[in-house]
């Protein structure tokens, strides 16, 4: 379902060229639960950004649902981000002036879905996450765990095929973090492909497939 072939990505930092990804190959099957671990600067986030179509590789091919994404136009990439990919960020990235429900509704708004259908889908997304009574609150009135669950509801409302989570528990205490992980795993059980980037070995260890990255390359890829 996802196939990366010889992906290279480098950045210019000052005079130095940093190779964030070197000839990286990776295949993910539909419905897989994968964790990516590794030290800072190992290219985890770069990989995630490329998978999420936020960043383009310098060379190599990236097939998403049998489409070669490297040939897509900006508009088509935006469309793919909208319909196929869900993001969960460490810093939540909720729009502070919008209520939880409005934040969740945002991808539907961008996709041009009609308002009555939007209301229905927002309701359906908030309910299983236990956020219905918080729907009218703004992010600053929510706890960390509630904020991240709102972000998860937003990431999944377009029913994407893959959910990319970048340190989803990084800004949360242990209890809320576990809560969020359980939420993500529940979604994975329902069939969504889940990819979590994390520093925390405890969280990384929960995934059936664990990838370890060092210096822009995969050094370990274990399954249980």
């Amino acid at each position: 379902m996802i196939r990366l072939e010889k992906i290279n990505r480098s950045f210019q930092v000052g005079d130095e060229t940093v190779h964030a990804l070197r000839d990286l190959d990776l295949e993910l099957k539909s419905g897989e639960y994968v964790s990516i671990m590794g030290p800072s600067g190992s290219g985890k986030s770069t990989l995630l950004n490329i998978l999420g179509l936020l960043d383009r590789p310098d060379s190599g091919r990236y097939h998403l649902d049998e489409i070669d994404t490297t040939t897509l136009s900006e508009l088509e990439r935006a469309d793919a981000r909208c319909n196929k990919i869900g993001f969960v960020f460490q810093a939540f990235h909720l729009v502070p002036r919008l209520t939880a429900a409005d934040n969740v509704e945002l991808p539907l708004v961008l996709a041009g879905v009609a308002p009555p259908e939007r209301k229905q889908r927002v309701h359906e997304a908030l309910e299983p996450l236990g956020l219905l009574d918080r729907a009218g609150h703004r992010p600053d009135q929510l706890s960390g765990g509630q904020r991240q669950r709102t972000a998860i509801a937003r990431a999944t409302i377009m029913q994407p095929t893959i959910l990319l989570a970048d340190e989803p528990t990084g800004n949360l205490d242990k209890a809320s973090g576990e809560d969020v992980i359980h939420t993500l795993e529940k979604l994975n059980n329902q069939g969504i492909t889940l990819l979590i980037v994390t520093h925390d070995p405890e969280i990384g260890g929960r995934a059936p497939r664990r990838i370890r990255m060092v210096d822009g390359a995969i050094t370990e890829d274990t399954r249980t």
Binding site: L54, L75, R81, C82, N83, H93, P107, G112
Partner: protein, 401 residues
């Protein structure tokens, strides 16, 4: 993205950042307000001048004795003093079909008294035609009697200010006043029309022309006012007047004939230029407001990089982001234009209260232009920040942890 959602998102973003929004609306409002107020002042000045001229009368042609034109001819060997313009000249002018009414005028300044009160005022000697030619109206009584202008009765029509000063609240009609030791009966009182081109109609007395001739002991007219037979006949009347006078004055064209129109056009041209200049100055202030808006908008974009990155991650295309920011800009400009209009109307109203005699009007085109210009400057100056937002790299935008 649906248009209503774009609008809603834009307005929410504006409401969400109140301070910034107010700052930009204020900048725009001041720009728009100054455009409207300055054009109103320019237009007001133009209207003021036009009104002064139309107060003179309609289709007016003025004949002034003496020729004030400079010609390239050599100085005449024999001194050609211009002949006086006389009452007979004026009567002769009625021969032309282009001339409807003729009002010859003799002017003098003499003391006028009633009982113990005496004042020195301007006396106009004229005929019954002066009333329509000069657009005067009566508050009370009658104007000079029509009939043979060469016979003068001892009657006077006085201005309202003079009436008040001589008679206060007493009945003036039918009373006898003294003008330079001659007795005149007051038969009418002029309506106060204010000042028109330096002559205060409240402060004059009008007597029959023949009486004025003997009172001032002169047959020389100050000028002749002519009402042409319609707007199209003005030029014809002007030519006819010159021809008739030339014939009567031994082939010497020794009068100057000016039309009200010519004067009006000159002033109108000057004031149109003035209005445009003033609008130009105002447009500069609008441009300054635009640059201010651009700066604040650039700050807004950098403050909202995270949000823009997020919108991109959620599937927003460059075009959507661009249109979101442009919609925000147009909403801002529109709000600015509305507030500016309120400022302008308030300002014009205040000026109107302070200077009631000055005809301040806000021309419709200036309102339309101000709104148009404010929206286009808003869009123009927000295009750069909006493009910047649209091209923003979502990876960098979202990595600000």
């Amino acid at each position: 993205m649906l248009m209503e959602d774009t609008l809603r998102f834009g307005s929410q973003a504006l409401v969400g950042a109140k301070k910034r929004t107010w700052l930009m609306v204020l900048a725009m409002a001041i720009g728009v307000g100054s455009v409207v107020i300055l054009t109103a002042l320019g237009e007001g000045a133009r209207n003021y001048i036009s009104r002064e001229f139309s107060n003179l009368g309609t289709n007016l042609v003025i004949v002034i004795p003496g020729r004030t034109e400079t010609t390239g001819e050599a100085p005449p060997m024999v001194g050609a003093t211009p002949d006086d313009l006389t009452l007979d000249d004026a009567i002769a002018l009625t021969r032309s079909s282009a001339v409807r009414l003729v009002a010859p005028i003799i002017v003098g300044s003499v003391p006028v008294s009633y009982q113990q009160l005496e004042r020195e005022i301007t006396i106009l000697g004229s005929t019954a035609d002066l009333l329509p030619v000069r657009n005067l109206s009566l508050a009370k009584g009658k104007f000079l009697p029509a009939g043979d202008p060469t016979r003068g009765a001892a009657v006077a029509v006085i201005g309202s200010k003079l009436k008040k000063e001589l008679f206060a609240n007493k009945q003036a009609l039918g009373q006898w006043i003294r003008i330079n030791d001659r007795r005149f009966r007051v038969i009418g009182i002029l309506d106060p029309m204010g000042e028109s081109l330096g002559l205060d109609v409240g402060d004059i007395a009008v007597i029959p022309i023949a009486t004025a001739e003997s009172l001032f002991n002169t047959s020389s007219l100050f000028r002749i006012l002519i009402q042409a037979n319609g707007r199209s006949a003005i030029t014809k009347a002007q030519k006819a007047v010159k021809a008739i006078i030339k014939e009567r004055h031994n082939g010497e064209e020794d009068v100057t004939v000016i039309t009200q129109q010519a004067l009006l056009y000159t002033f109108d041209g000057i004031f149109k230029t003035l209005t445009y200049t003033v609008s130009g100055i105002a447009a500069i202030s609008l441009a300054v407001a635009g640059i201010l808006i651009m700066n604040v908008m650039l700050v807004a974009v950098s403050q909202r990089t995270e949000e823009i990155g997020l919108l991109k991650a959620l599937g927003g295309s460059e075009r959507q982001i661009l249109s979101l920011f442009l919609v925000e800009a147009s909403l801002l400009s529109l709000a600015g234009a509305v507030f500016g209009m309120l400022i302008a109307l308030g300002g014009v109203w205040a000026l109107d209260q302070a200077f009631p005699s000055f005809p301040l009007t806000v021309p419709l085109w200036s309102i339309a232009a101000a709104i148009l210009v404010s929206i286009s400057t808003g869009l123009l100056f927000c295009t750069l920040p909006a493009k910047r937002a649209a091209r923003l790299d979502p990876v960098h935008a979202l990595s600000g942890r």
